[in-house]
Structure formats: structure tokens, C-alpha cells
């Protein structure tokens, strides 16, 4: 590759990339625009007036099922999944740095968890609860089902993090007399913190969007994706698009918050990393 000018190939590839981005964003932008239809608007263009009527409609409970309840359940479930994924992945990631019996089996179990089709996990947990005569619910069986999807991702990220981790920092801490807990709290944790935001983001959003694994496991109260699916089969007004716009906006906000947090952490680390010789 020459460093001076752009080859014709570059412009072709850049155009391809632009088309790809258009392909990714095009449909979503369409429903965002259409969700601002007037009260007489339909599911397609042309726009019939402009208003926020359909967003208001979304919050009238009887109109479109229990949007508020399912939304809050999904957020709470997402937060529980996020916290559990974070703690369990970091802990397991630490364990995998040393050889222990059963590590290979557990590693392949994590990989299996990723490639087993979601509907199988859903069916299996549903059946298990059915046979044991336990009730399925979003904070028990659905939580377990979601964790089989988020934990492998968390674990793989932790592998990548610890592969690049320089053990000399820990040895230095130990040589200075730090206990393992102190080493973890003051040395390891601050170094891996930015990557943990990635694990948290994966945990929350994978759970927040999960449909197939919630299907047979969430019991009598719907999570948001189940509610949305229910709406696609019986709602034929732009309220569906209002819901899409709102949840997309919410996801976008979560991603941006995580990115911002990660940037702040990295900047702080850089500042604190260069305090050698300042007598702090």
C-alpha cells in the first residue's frame, strides 16, 4: 500500500462502506420518521401530518398492552444480568489465569453455551421448571437463560483482557506487601476497569434485547421484546414505530453513556499513570 495517494480501490471500498452504513441505518431512520405521523397516519409513506400523538398513545395502558410494565421489567432484568455477568466473569477470568482441574470442560461449556440455539435453552429451562413444578418468572428462570448468553461473552472478553495484562504490576504490589485483596482492589481493578464497561454493556444490552431465551422462561409477565413481538402481530398503527423509536433511542443512550464512561476512565488512568516522582 502506498502512503502517498489513495488508490482507485480505496474509493470503491469507501463507497461500498457508505452503502453498508446506509443499509444499516436506512430502515431504522424510516420508522423514526414515520413514528411522528399525525393521528390519521398509517404504516407507510407519505406522511399524514406530523405530531407526537403515537408516542402519547404508547403510554395509554389499554391501547397497546403493558408497555410500561414490560419496559421496567426488561430494564431491571438487564441490570441484574449486567451485575451478575460482571462479577461472575471477572471472578472466572481470574481463575482461568492459573491451571485448575476442569478448566477445559468449563471452557468448552462456555463455547457450547454460545452455539446452542437460543430456543433450545429456552425449551430446556422451561421443561425443567415444568417438571419440577416451579413457576417460571423473569427474575429466576429468564435470568438464568439470559446468563447462558451473556456469560460466555463476558468470559471471552476477560480472556482477552488478562492475555494482555502485565503480571509485573501484581508482583510489584505483592513485593511491597499487599494482600491479594489489596492487589486486586488497587492494582488489577483500575487497570481492567475500562474493559469491564464493555462486559457490562454486553450484559445489559444482550439481555434487554433477548427474545428467544425469554420465550418459555419469563412466566406470566412479559419482557419488552416479548411485548414488542406481541404488538407486531396485532397492532397496525404507527404506535409500533413510536415504540421502536423510543427503545432505539434508549439503547443509543446506554451505548453512548458507556462509551463516555470508558473514555473518562481511560483519561483518568492516563493522568494517574504519570504521577511518578510527583511525591503523591
Amino acid at each position: 500500500m502506498d502512503r502517498e495517494g489513495r488508490s482507485p480501490g480505496f474509493y470503491f471500498l469507501a463507497a461500498f462502506f457508505a452503502l453498508f452504513v446506509l443499509f444499516l441505518y436506512g430502515p431504522i431512520s424510516t420508522i423514526v420518521i414515520l413514528s411522528f405521523q399525525g393521528p390519521d397516519g398509517g404504516l407507510t409513506f407519505p406522511m399524514n401530518g406530523g405530531s407526537t400523538y403515537w408516542f402519547a398513545n404508547l403510554f395509554e395502558k389499554q391501547a397497546v398492552g403493558d408497555f410500561g410494565g414490560s419496559f421496567s421489567r426488561s430494564i431491571r432484568l438487564g441490570l441484574i444480568v449486567m451485575a451478575t455477568t460482571l462479577v461472575v466473569s471477572v471472578s472466572a477470568g481470574l481463575a482461568f489465569r492459573r491451571p485448575f482441574r476442569g478448566s477445559t470442560v468449563l471452557f468448552y461449556l462456555a463455547i457450547a453455551s454460545l452455539i446452542v440455539p437460543s430456543i433450545l435453552v429456552s425449551l430446556g429451562i422451561g421443561l425443567m421448571f415444568n417438571i419440577l413444578e416451579w413457576d417460571t418468572n423473569w427474575y429466576g428462570s429468564a435470568l438464568g437463560a439470559h446468563l447462558t448468553w451473556t456469560l460466555p461473552f463476558g468470559l471471552l472478553i476477560m480472556f482477552a483482557v488478562f492475555n494482555r495484562f502485565n503480571k509485573a504490576y501484581e508482583e510489584a504490589a505483592r513485593d511491597l506487601g499487599a494482600t491479594p485483596a489489596q492487589t486486586f482492589r488497587h492494582v488489577v481493578l483500575p487497570i481492567i476497569a475500562p474493559s469491564l464497561i464493555g462486559v457490562a454493556l454486553f450484559g445489559f444490552t444482550l439481555s434487554y434485547d433477548e427474545f428467544a431465551r425469554s420465550l418459555m422462561t419469563s412466566g406470566s409477565f412479559n419482557t419488552l421484546p416479548l411485548e414488542i413481538y406481541g404488538m407486531t402481530t396485532n397492532v397496525t398503527t404507527p404506535v409500533l414505530y413510536a415504540l421502536g423509536t423510543l427503545t432505539t433511542g434508549f439503547s443509543l443512550m446506554v451505548v453512548l453513556l458507556c462509551l463516555a464512561a470508558s473514555l473518562v476512565l481511560q483519561r483518568r488512568r492516563r493522568r494517574h499513570g504519570s504521577d511518578a516522582g510527583r511525591g503523591i
Binding site: 457450547a112 446452542v116 415444568n130 409500533l240
Partner: protein
């Protein structure tokens, strides 16, 4: 604690640290899959499932013409979607890894690609409706331009729509691992190839493609397993007109025919594992971890 005690093989620390992970996988993955296998041999009537050991569920499943047609249809989706996501994903990853020069731009463009991934899959599917529908944007544009006089019916609620939605949902699962592999390629290999007189195309074909294989393998496993187990995309985008293994299973679940669904699940699991094993024979994925 002294270092030798920490690293001694008898230390309990790693077992304590890994226990939560092991318990969760045992409770919510191993036991449920075992339950499916057991239940697949059970009997059922309209009201309940009956513990038993019969082969009827498998005999019925494996001798039915419908099963074969369903699998052919599902594999057709998997192959088409794999080919398209691979072609698109490779080009996008190649552009990001080798043609975007600064890391800042790489990150910015990469995030641009990942943002749609974070919104609900079902919302991303239904967002095709106003675009592809009978009175959708595409049809009205084509009619306006005089390309066609009748709306194209094959755009929505068809195999075309199913494959398009899959590509829209899953191309990123190809881009990320391939990009990751490409970033690890030693740039001096490419310079060496160029100095030896290789054209740009020859470098891609003989240097970059073979060295990206682990990433391609990981992406392929993701896309193929996701498509094989899917039922929601096929049902929504085909308008209920196409079948897939996942749909067959979810229909049986809806009718409370759990043993039949379980037998279906076991067969699906075996097929998916065979496909993954075949892919692992072609590429060594462990190199990437």
C-alpha cells in the same frame, strides 16, 4: 500470602473463583439440555407430558417428509446468509483494517457500524416493512421512476425478505472477528508481497485471506448457528409462509407437544454441532483466543 502458596496446584482459590460460573452453566445449560434429551423419549397427550421411554417422537420426526423439507429450507437460509455476510463482512473489515489509516477513524467508523446492533432485533426487522411493503418506499419509487408498473410482491413476506433481514442483523458478527484477525496480520508481510511484485488483488487472495481464516471461522460459526436456530426472523419476514426448524419447534411448544419439540431440539442440536465441527476442521479457531 507468599507467591508459592498462591500458585500451588492444591490451592482452592481458582475453584472458589470459578464456582459461580460452573453452577450457572450446570443449572441453566447442562441440566436443561439433559432434560430435553430425557423428555424427547416421553409420551404426551393433549393435556400433559407422560414419563416413558418410547422412540415414537423420533420415528415420527425422522420419517416425515415435512422434516426433510424444513431442514432443506433452514439450511438454504443458512448457506445464503453465510455467503452474503461473509462477502460483505470481509470487504468491510478489509476496508477498515487496511484502507483506513488512523486509529481514530477506525474506531469512529467501527462504532458507526456497531450502533444499530444494539437496538432490538425485532424492531430492526419490522423497520423493513415501510421500506419493502406493497406501498413501501422502494415500490413507490420504482413505480414513480417507471421501472415497473405493478408493485413488486416478492420484496416483503418472502424468502428474499428473510435473507435480507438476516444479513441486516448478522453481518456485524462477521465484521468483528474478521477485523480482529486482520489487525493481527504483520504489515511487513504485505509490504514483502508488494515488493515481490504481487498486485493488490493477489495480496488479498494469497496473504490476507489465509491469515484471516480464524476470524472467518468464528464469524461463520456465529452466523450459521444463529440462522439455524432462528424462528422469529423467518416467521416475521416471510409473513408465516416459510418454514424453518425453529418455527416447527415453536409451533410444537405452542401446542404443548413438548416431547415432540424436544425430539426436534435434539436433532437440531446434533445438526448444528456437526456443522460447527465441520467448520472447525477447516479453520483453527483456538489460535484466536
Amino acid at each position: 500470602m507468599n507467591p508459592s502458596a498462591r500458585s500451588s496446584p492444591g490451592s482452592a482459590t481458582p475453584y472458589v473463583q470459578v464456582a459461580p460460573l460452573a453452577v450457572i452453566f450446570a443449572l441453566f445449560l447442562v441440566v436443561p439440555i439433559a432434560t430435553i434429551v430425557v423428555v424427547s423419549f416421553w409420551d404426551y397427550d393433549e393435556f400433559r407430558i407422560l414419563p416413558d421411554f418410547i422412540w415414537d417422537n423420533y420415528v415420527y420426526l425422522l420419517t416425515s417428509q415435512v422434516t426433510l423439507a424444513t431442514y432443506v429450507n433452514t439450511v438454504k437460509y443458512a448457506v445464503l446468509v453465510w455467503a452474503l455476510t461473509f462477502a460483505i463482512g470481509f470487504v468491510i473489515a478489509y476496508f477498515l483494517a487496511f484502507h483506513v489509516r488512523t486509529m481514530t477513524w477506525q474506531i469512529v467508523l467501527f462504532i458507526l457500524c456497531t450502533i444499530p446492533f444494539w437496538t432490538s432485533n425485532i424492531i430492526r426487522m419490522i423497520s423493513w416493512i415501510p421500506f419493502l411493503g406493497r406501498n413501501g418506499l422502494l415500490n413507490s419509487t420504482l413505480i414513480h421512476l417507471g421501472v415497473v408498473d405493478q408493485p413488486l410482491e416478492f420484496l416483503l413476506f418472502s424468502d428474499f425478505a428473510v435473507v435480507l433481514a438476516f444479513v441486516h442483523l448478522y453481518t456485524l458478527f462477521m465484521v468483528v472477528p474478521i477485523f480482529n484477525s486482520m489487525m493481527r496480520i504483520d504489515r511487513s508481510l504485505i509490504e514483502a508481497a508488494a515488493d515481490a511484485g504481487a498486485s493488490g488483488w493477489q495480496i488479498v487472495r494469497n496473504v490476507i485471506l489465509p491469515l484471516s481464516k480464524p476470524g472467518i471461522g468464528i464469524g461463520s460459526i456465529f452466523v450459521v448457528t444463529l440462522v439455524m436456530g432462528d424462528f422469529i426472523t423467518v416467521r416475521l419476514m416471510s409473513g408465516g409462509q416459510s418454514s424453518s426448524v425453529g418455527i416447527a419447534m415453536s409451533n410444537e411448544i405452542a401446542l404443548l407437544q413438548y416431547p415432540a419439540a424436544a425430539a426436534n431440539a435434539v436433532v437440531l442440536l446434533v445438526v448444528v454441532l456437526l456443522m460447527v465441527a465441520a467448520m472447525l476442521r477447516v479453520v483453527d479457531v483456538r489460535k484466536e483466543l
